[in-house]
């Protein structure tokens, strides 16, 4: 199966293991390998998860209250933002806030119903990784990153709006 993870403009293998666990799951059995957990699980079991060594990433559902993670942003080396339907654009604001307000510098990954036609905007608000669903051409999706030669408004990828960069 071809790789479907785009990271920093290239197709790469995914080193993260995504765990779908309920909030009362047994956490004792977790390995030290990088694990991606629902953000709600992090909030519910924060103390136990803090005691674990090994990288942790959290995955944010569309309505997840980002503010509740504010203290912990620096602890994650991966934050995934879920797009169950691409027409639900809340994740774009989530990404903007993570990059521009909370100063998150790690991998910010768009997950779910994403493809070529969302790539340009996703990249602009700060995503640097994209998990293209199986069945969609990830090589093709890469093309979407270069749809436009320039942009008017500031965003995470270029905080200066065009009017502060325009060569007159």
């Amino acid at each position: 199966m071809p790789e479907q993870l785009i990271q920093n403009g290239r197709l790469v293998a995914d080193r993260w293991q995504r765990l779908e666990m309920s909030e009362d799951a047994d956490l004792g059995a977790l390995s030290a390998a990088p694990i991606l957990l629902p953000a709600s699980l992090w909030c519910a079991r924060r103390d136990q998860l803090l005691a674990r060594t090994g990288e942790i990433g959290v995955s944010l559902a569309p309505g997840f209250p980002l503010e509740s993670l504010a203290e912990d942003i620096g602890r994650f080396s991966l934050i995934a933002v879920e797009f169950p339907k691409f027409a639900d654009g809340r994740g774009y604001s989530t990404a903007s806030l993570l990059r521009q307000r909370y100063g998150y510098r790690g991998e910010l990954r768009a997950v779910g119903d994403v493809g070529r036609d969302q790539m340009f905007y996703l990249q602009r608000v700060g995503f640097n990784a994209f998990l293209i669903p199986e069945g969609r051409d990830a090589e093709d999706a890469l093309q979407g990153l270069t749809d436009f030669p320039d942009t008017y408004q500031g965003a995470a990828d270029q905080p200066l709006p065009l009017f502060r960069r325009r060569a007159v």
């Binding site: 639900d88 654009g89 774009y92 436009f148 942009t151 008017y152 905080p159 709006p161 065009l162 007159v168």
Partner: protein
Amino acid sequence: MYHYDDYDRSIVSARVKQFRGQTGRFLAGKLSEDEFRPLRLQNGLYIQRHGPMLRIAIPYGQLSSAQLRTLASIARDFDRDVGHFTTRQNMQLNWVKLPEVPDILERLANAEMHAIQTSGNCIRNITSDPFSGVAGDEIADPRPWAEILRQWSTFHPEFAYLPRKFKVAISGATEDRAAIQVHDLGLQLVKNEAGELGFTVYAGGGLGRTPLIGQKIRDFLPWQHLLTYSEALVRIYNRYGRRDNMYKARIKILVKALGSAEFARQVEAEWAYLKDGPQTLTAAEVERVAMQFAPPRYARLAAENLTHLVDQHGEKAFARWVERNVKPHKVPGYAAVTLSLKQPGRAPGDATSAQMYAAADLADRFSFGEIRVTHEQNLVLADVEQRELHTLWQQAKAAGLASANIGLLADMIVCPGGDFCSLANAKSLPIAAAVQERFADLDYLFDIGNLALNISGCMNSCGHHHLGAIGILGVDKHGEEWYQITLGGTQGNAARIGEVIGRSFAAAEVPDVIERLVAVYLSHRHAGEEFNETLARIGLEPFRAAAYRKDAEIGEPAYA
């Protein structure tokens, strides 16, 4: 007017290329209908009853004569020689073919135009006052601010998938001619006590299924903060607007649910992080854009006495046209002229290619080559020398653009309705035509005077029926088309939503009902009183009684 530079050109061209690719992938079966829908919508392309409808953006209603000729050529080459001007100052084509749309967009791009974000759940075309720059009551020209907002909102990466569409209108005059209080975001240019320019901000207005007047959420926003504040406001909406029910997804529902004070508080809290950041506007940028809206080179003229001018010619038709279609101008010797797109036998707001070419020629000859589109679906030549009015009138008449009916009942706002639109519950054009026919007598129309009659073919309210002194709304009852009547709606500073008078009418009854409502007004009005004033004084009841009166000749109004 604003001209593209290399940045603008390259961005719009890239959009054409992108959409050409998306259309190609869709036609090749590589994009599903669900995947393609939001992409085509954000390029103004709907799938309608007869095929695709393309909505072309006319930012804040401003066109050069060259751009209007481009629209005429597109209507001629890709449609059926006719375009429809909309209540959001855009133009719609009803008979385009999907594979040809990229070519249309390319032709538009060559004329510095596009169809970007004319539909879809994003920030739509920004509308404004058609008399901007020339009105005597102007505080500041809204067009530079509209253009600055157009650029900020174009391909805004965070706001392409909002809960629902988002419409912005901006007014720079003391009289609101841009209907800012029925927009998601309404901006009123104002000066504070220190004489500094800024905006009074309204949010949560809108028509549609739940008509609401916008709430004032900030008295004075200094101009420097227009973009950061707007970004904060739209972000609050993007994060917290409802997405579970498309009928409750507009920002007005959020503002109503939170209360305007709490909504304003949340926007302010968000704005605190963005304020004074890099998107804070600079005087240099405002100057760069404003320069492009500098006044044309007016001749030094003495103000004409229009009464004398009219008397000189001694033509009643000209006198009437001057009375209705000519507005004052802030520069002596000039006038703003409305070219009416409301003629018997033609859909309101429609212009043929020939009429568009003719209007472009008139603009070149009489008005510095510029045209504005009004949200009442007419065209405006904003800078006409008063001494040229008679010549202009003759030429406009020859082109079928001189109906002397601006503001009269015949100057109806009407959506395309069920003849074209797949959202519509009922036809609106035949209703408009029937009412037009009933009120064909110009003497009668002049006697009635100012009267806003607005017709929408469905709850989406593109025809602004809520804002008509008389509003007509097409509704579906068990698969049949019926028409609900509202009275007392008003646009502008005292914007008000009309009140439903009662059960709906069948299509055939509508002209009679309108005639009876007008008769009640005429029989009760005091001198100088407009329809809504009489209504406010005598109440709804006399109108209701007349509308539902049993009448042997026409039969009892049917129940629906």
